[in-house]
Amino acid sequence: MEKIKRKPRKAHVAENDCVACGCCAKVCPMQAISVYKGVKAVVDWKKCVGCGKCAKECPASVIELREIEL
């Protein structure tokens, strides 16, 4: 049986709906997410391990885990 190869899942921010509150940055264990210039949250996919803590915390629920190719 052939194994299906999946890409790693990482946090993805729907930037237009982000309120830049920074709740995500507070819970990230890898310090992979930060608020860029008070406008939106930005994820450093090199650091993100896809744990989903930020997605769970986000009060606007604008973060989701997606398969992302670096």
Partner: protein, 190 residues
């Protein structure tokens, strides 16, 4: 992660709410929650206040998160829409101006001091015990009552959405958050 000094600012927010029960003049301190975020946004172009120092946000995340007083459901789509966020900001500002107008009337001597806290812009709660006499101009006391009304109303709204949705749902439609984000957007476009 090691806790920093600013992780305890929720204590200040809580103290502020409690002090208002004993002496309404403490309500003036709430202006800090208005000016600090604005100054940070104007000078540095960031939302550091929301991100780090907001005691109210910390209080909600403590009650909703640690104490589990939140259903942790997704906030409805319309509540995070730009229309609702800006609409709420405008409504909030109009109500604030009305409060300032009432304060002005008391300062000018055309209206009497109302020793009441107005909750959710509608319900007048008796609050006379927190007014300890004529040490200050009645206008200054009127502002304190009005400002405490604003702070208590927003706390109640925040608590309701905390229970219904996620702990810090208030942050989605917080007027200060909306306005500082707007400032940052304009400032960082230059």
């Amino acid at each position: 992660m090691k806790k920093k000094w600013y992780d305890y600012l929720w204590l200040l927010s809580l103290t502020y709410l409690i002090l208002g029960f004993f002496n309404i003049l403490f309500a003036w301190l709430g202006l800090l929650c208005f000016f600090i975020p604005l100054i940070i946004a104007f000078v540095y172009g960031t939302k550091s206040y929301c991100n780090r120092y907001c005691g109210r946000g910390q209080l909600f995340s403590l009650l909703g998160g640690r104490f589990g007083l939140s259903r942790r459901h997704d906030i409805p789509q319309w509540m995070k829409s730009k229309a609702f966020r800006y609409g709420f900001l405008i409504f909030f500002c109009v109500m604030f101006l009305q409060m300032l107008w009432n304060t002005y009337l008391v300062f000018a001597g055309t209206a009497d001091l109302q020793q009441a806290v107005t909750l959710l812009w509608t319900f007048k709660l008796p609050w006379h015990w927190a007014y300890l006499g004529n040490a200050v101009n009645p206008g200054a006391a009127q502002f304190a009552f009005g400002f405490y009304s604003v702070m208590l109303t927003s706390t109640v709204l925040g608590l309701i959405t905390m229970v219904l949705f996620k702990p810090r749902s208030w942050c989605v439609y917080c007027p200060m958050g909306t306005v500082t984000q707007l400032i940052c957007k304009v400032k960082n476009k230059e």
